[in-house]
Amino acid sequence: GGGSDDAAGGGTEKLTIYTARDKKVATFVVDKFTAKYPEYKGKVEVLNLGAQEILERVRAEKANPQADVWWGGTQQGLAAGAAEDLLTSWQPAFAGKMDAKYKDPEGRWFGEILLPEVIMYNNKALTPEKAPKDWDDLLKPEWKNKIIIRDVAASGTMRSIYASMIQRQSPDGSNPQPGYDWLKKLDANTGAYAANPTDLYLKLSRQQGVLSAWNLQDILLQAEQANMPFGYVMPSSGAPVLVDGLAAVKGGNSTGAQKFIEFLFEDSLRADLAKDYFQIPAVDIAEKPEWLAQLDLKPLDVDWDVIGKHETEWINHWNSQIKNKG
C-alpha cells in the first residue's frame, strides 16, 4: 500500500513527494515544512527523480497511486499528466495571484517558478563583450563548432527553446520552415550535443565548446555554487520563459499535498529560495533578492498553445531531418 492507506496514529497521513528539484532544495523546503507543521515530522517521504521519470511513475502507478505531490515538471509534462487524469483539480489560496498563463485553467497544476532560457557562455573563454547578444548571433560563422547543446529531443527544456525558435518566426505555427532553416544553421554551428545537464556543464567547462542555450537558474547555481566558469546573456529579443510547476496527484493524500503546496508559495520561503537557489517565483513576492531585482527579464512572446499543438511534429522533424545535418 502507498501513502493513502498507511494512515498512521495521530491522524496525520504520510506525505509522499516525487520531486525533480535539486536534493538540497527539497531538503531545505521539507525541513521548513515539518518545522511549521510538526505533525508531519517523519511522515514526509521525498523521492528525487527526473521530471520525465515522475511522469512515467505516476502514470504507471495510476491504478494505485503512491505519490501525493508531483513537485517539479515542465508545463508540457504536467499538462500531459492532467490530460491523462492523473492530477487533482483544486483551487489553492495563491491561485488568484497567479498569472493565468502560469497555471492550468482547471487547477490541476500550478507554475511554481519561471525559467527564462538564455544564452550561456564560458566566461573563462569569452568576455561578456565578445559573447553573442541575441539568438540570431549564435548563427554567426565565428561560433562554428563552438556551441554545445543539451540534446533536444529528450529534454523538456530544450524542446521548449527550439519550439519557441520556430514559433517566433511563425506565430500561428502554420509555417515552420523559416524556423527549421534557422535551426539548421544553428545545428551547423553546434559542435556537440550533450547527453544530459551534467554532460553539458562538463563539456562547456572543459571548453569543448563555449556557448549554449540554457536556463538562467541553473547557470547561476553552477556559477555560484559549483565554481563553474559560466556567465549568461539575456538575449536582446527576449528569452522564452518556461514554467516549472507542481501538482497534487489524484488519489493521493490530498490534505497533506495541498498543505504542502500552499506552504511552498509562502512569501518568506519564496524569498529564501529566490535568494539561495536563484528561483524566479511564478507569483510575485514582496522582497526580492538583489539579483532578481536587477534582472532585466525580457520574456519572448511565445504562444505555448501553438507550441503544445506542434511540438512533437517539429521536434521529430528536427530530430530526423536537421540534427547533425547542418
Binding site: 500500500g1 502507498g2 535539486d22 536534493k23 538540497k24 517521504e45 521525498v46 523521492l47 528525487n48 527523480l49 527526473g50 520525465q52 521519470e53 512515467e56 511513475r57 504507471a60 502507478e61 495510476k62 491504478a63 494505485n64 503512491q66 500531459a80 573563462k124 540534446d151 529531443a153 529528450a154 529534454s155 523538456g156 524542446r159 556537440a192 550535443y193 547527453a195 544530459n196 545537464p197 551534467t198 554532460d199 556543464y201 562538463l202 563539456k203 567547462s205 572543459r206 571548453q207 569543448q208 553552477q222 559549483a226 565554481n227 563553474m228 566558469p229 512533437t312 521536434i315 521529430n316 530530430n319 530526423s320 531531418q321 540534427k323
Partner: protein, 594 residues
C-alpha cells in the same frame, strides 16, 4: 513474500497432476521420482514458467498490445517506410550490437586465455580487478570514459600536449566512443563465460589436436573456440542484448539514432504506442538472435566423450610466453583500470578545478568527507548490497534450475522457456520496471495477491527478473560441457535426483554459476534505470544516490560514491575469487607453465 497469498498462487501448491502409478508409489514420487519420470520436467518447470509468464512474458505482450492498440500495425510500418529514423535507428542499434559482440569477444576471450592458461606474478590481482569495469556505476562510468577518451578527455588532450598539436589527438566520438564503452563494460560477459568453460574443458581434446599437427592458433580456431561455443553463445547473447538496450553510452556519445534513444524520445513526446512499438521490435530482434544462436549451438555436442578424467598436463617451459602474458596483462589492466582511475581523479579533485587541464589542478578529500558526514550516507550502500544479494540468491536458485531443465530435460516448450527468461534481458530496464509497476500496483495472481509497489520487495524482484538471464545463461553454458554420465553415476549409487544434482552436477557447474551470480550481483549494485522508477525513500539504492548527485552537478561527490561502489565490488570479487577456486585455479595455471 511476506504474507499469506490471498489467492492460492498455483506455484505455491504442489501441482496436483493425475498420477498414473498405483497409490503405493505415489506420495514422494513427484519429488524423488526425479528426472526420470516423464512428467518431472513439467513439475520442475511449471512454477518457473508461471513466474516468467507473470513477470516477463505477459507484460511483454501488454507492451505489444499497446503498440498495436490504437492503429493496429501502422506503427510498425515506420520501420519500412517513414522518414527513415526508425529504420536507421534499428540498423545503427544492430551494427553497434554486432560490433560490440565482436570486440567484447576478442577482449574477453583473450583475457580469459591469458589469465587461465598462464601463471605469472600478479595474476591473482588482475583476476580480481578484471570485473571492475563492469562494476562502474552507469552514469559515472560512461562519463569517466568521456573524461578519458573524448575530445576533451585526458588521453587526447594529453597527446595534444605531448605532440603540441592544434586539436586533441585520437578522440573517440560517436559510434566509436560507444563501442569503446561497450567493450570495456561488457567484455566481462565473455571473460567470465570463457574462463569457466576453459576450466571445465576436457584437456585431452586439445592435446589430440596438437598431436595431429595443429599449431596453437589453429587449435584455438578449430578446437578451443568451437568447444567454447556454449560459453561464447551465452556471452554473445548477453552482450548483444545489453548493447541493444544500452542507453547511456549512445546518449553520451551523441549517437541518438538508436532504438533505446527512440524509445526515450517517444516517451518524452508522449507517444506511448510508438515507444512500445520500438520496445517490441527490440524484443523481437533479440528473440530472433536468441533463436539463431540456439540453433547454431544445438548443431553440435560439446560434452567430453573421453573415458575417465584427464587433467591439464601440457606444460610450457618457454619463459618468453610467460613474460609476454605478463606484459599483455599489465597493459590490459592499465587500460581496464583507467576509467576507475578517472573516477578517482574526479572524486579527489576540487569541484571546478578540472576544466581545460589534462588532469585536475587541485585536490581534496572533501567529497568523501561530505558523503560520510551526511547522516544517511551508508543507507544506499547497504540497500544496494542487501537487495542485490537477495536477488542474486533468487537468480541462482531459479536460474540454475531453469538451465538444468532447458539443457537436460526433454519436454515441450524448452525453447519457449529459454526465450521467456532472456526476454527480460532484451527489454530496456525502464520497460521491465513499468511492467512490474503495472503488475504489482494492485494485487493479482502473479503477486500472490500482494501489492508490492511501495514495498521493499519490489526492488529485489525487479533485479531478479532483470538479472535472472545472467545466471541462467552462464549456468547453461557450463552444463553443456558436462558429461551427463556423472550425474547418472551418482543416481546409480542411490542418490536422489536432488542429491545427485547438489553433490555432483551443481558442484561441477559451479564455475559457471558463480560467474553468473557475480555478474548478477555487480549489475544489481549498479542498476539504475529500473530502480529509479520503483525505489522508495527506504530503499534508495546507491545508483539513485549517485544520480541525484550528478543531477545537481555534484560530480565530485557522485564520483566519491562511485569509488565506494567500485571498492565494494572489488572486495566481493576477491572474496568470490577465493570462494570459487581457492588454490585450484592457480594450480591449473601453474600446471601449464611449470
Amino acid at each position: 513474500m511476506s504474507t499469506i497469498p490471498a489467492t492460492p498462487g498455483a506455484a505455491t501448491v504442489p501441482p496436483v497432476t493425475e498420477d498414473p502409478t498405483p497409490p503405493r508409489a505415489r506420495a514422494p514420487r513427484w519429488l524423488a521420482g526425479g528426472a526420470n519420470s516423464p512428467w518431472f520436467p513439467y513439475v520442475l518447470v511449471f512454477p518457473l514458467a508461471l513466474v516468467l509468464f507473470g513477470y516477463v512474458v505477459q507484460p511483454m505482450f501488454a507492451t505489444f498490445a499497446e503498440s498495436v492498440g490504437v492503429d493496429g500495425l501502422a506503427n510498425y510500418s515506420v520501420f519500412l517506410t517513414g522518414d527513415g529514423v526508425a529504420r536507421s535507428a534499428l540498423v545503427t542499434s544492430l551494427v553497434i550490437s554486432a560490433a560490440s559482440v565482436l570486440l567484447c569477444g576478442i577482449v574477453g576471450v583473450a583475457m580469459a586465455f591469458l589469465l587461465k592458461r598462464f601463471s605469472f606474478p600478479g595474476r591473482r590481482l588482475i583476476e580480481a580487478i578484471i570485473l571492475v569495469p563492469a562494476a562502474l556505476p552507469p552514469l559515472i562510468g560512461a562519463i569517466s570514459f568521456q573524461l578519458l577518451y573524448s575530445e576533451t578527455g585526458i588521453l587526447p588532450r594529453g597527446l595534444q600536449h605531448l605532440f603540441g598539436t592544434e586539436q586533441p589527438v585520437l578522440p573517440f566520438t560517436g559510434i566509436a566512443g560507444v563501442l569503446v564503452v561497450h567493450t570495456f563494460t561488457m567484455y566481462p560477459f565473455f571473460y567470465l563465460a570463457a574462463s569457466a568453460a576453459l576450466v571445465g574443458m576436457d584437456p585431452s581434446v586439445e592435446e589430440a589436436a596438437y598431436n595431429l599437427g595443429a599449431g596453437r592458433v589453429r587449435v584455438w580456431r578449430t578446437v578451443l573456440l568451437p568447444m567454447l561455443t556454449p560459453a561464447l553463445v551465452s556471452a554473445s547473447l548477453l552482450v548483444f542484448m545489453t548493447s541493444l538496450a544500452s542507453y547511456t553510452a549512445p546518449l553520451l556519445f551523441g549517437v541518438d539514432q538508436t532504438m533505446t534513444m527512440q524509445i526515450y524520445i517517444n516517451r518524452t513526446n508522449g507517444d506511448l504506442p510508438m515507444a512500445s512499438t520500438y520496445a517490441s521490435v527490440l524484443g523481437v530482434v533479440s528473440v530472433l538472435f536468441l533463436l539463431g544462436m540456439r540453433w547454431y549451438e544445438g548443431r553440435r555436442s560439446y560434452r567430453s566423450q573421453s573415458k575417465g578424467v584427464a587433467s591439464h598436463r601440457r606444460e610450457i617451459t618457454n619463459p618468453f610466453g610467460r613474460w609476454l602474458a605478463l606484459l599483455a596483462s599489465v597493459l590490459a589492466t592499465g587500460v581496464l583500470l583507467a576509467p576507475v582511475g578517472t573516477i578517482a581523479l574526479v572524486a579527489f579533485s576540487r569541484d571546478g578545478s578540472w576544466t581545460t587541464e589534462v588532469i585536475p589542478s587541485a585536490y581534496t578529500m572533501g567529497n568523501f568527507v561530505t558523503i560520510f558526514t551526511d547522516e544517511g550516507a551508508y543507507r544506499p550502500i547497504v540497500n544496494s548490497l542487501k537487495m542485490s544479494l537477495i536477488a542474486t540468491v533468487a537468480c541462482v536458485v531459479v536460474g540454475v534450475l531453469i538451465a538444468y531443465a532447458v539443457r537436460r530435460l526433454d519436454f515441450r516448450g524448452r525453447a519457449l522457456l529459454d526465450v521467456a527468461v532472456m526476454l527480460a534481458w532484451a527489454l530496456p530496464g525502464t520497460v521491465v520496471a513499468i511492467n512490474l509497476i503495472s503488475a504489482f500496483s494492485t494485487g493479482n495472481a502473479f503477486s500472490f495477491g500482494q501489492v508490492l509497489i511501495g514495498t521493499f520487495w519490489i526492488m529485489p524482484l525487479a533485479y531478479f527478473v532483470r538479472f535472472l538471464p545472467l545466471v541462467f545463461r552462464s549456468s547453461s553454458a557450463t552444463l553443456a560441457q558436462l558429461d551427463p554420465s556423472l550425474e547418472e553415476a551418482a543416481r546409480n549409487l542411490g542418490a536422489s535426483w536432488w542429491r545427485a544434482f547438489g553433490t555432483v552436477t551443481l558442484r561441477l557447474m559451479l564455475p559457471g554459476v558463480l560467474a553468473g551470480a557475480l555478474l548478477a550481483f555487480v549489475h544489481g549494485v549498479g542498476e539504475f534505470v529500473a530502480s529509479v522508477l520503483i525505489y522508495t525513500s527506504e530503499t534508495a539504492p546507491i545508483s539513485v544516490e549517485i544520480n541525484n548527485r550528478m543531477y545537481s552537478f555534484e560530480v565530485g561527490t557522485a564520483a566519491a560514491y562511485g569509488m565506494l561502489q567500485v571498492v565494494l565490488i572489488f572486495v566481493v570479487m576477491v572474496v568470490s575469487g577465493r570462494l570459487e577456486s581457492g588454490p585450484k585455479a592457480s594450480r591449473e595455471a601453474a600446471r601449464w607453465t611449470a
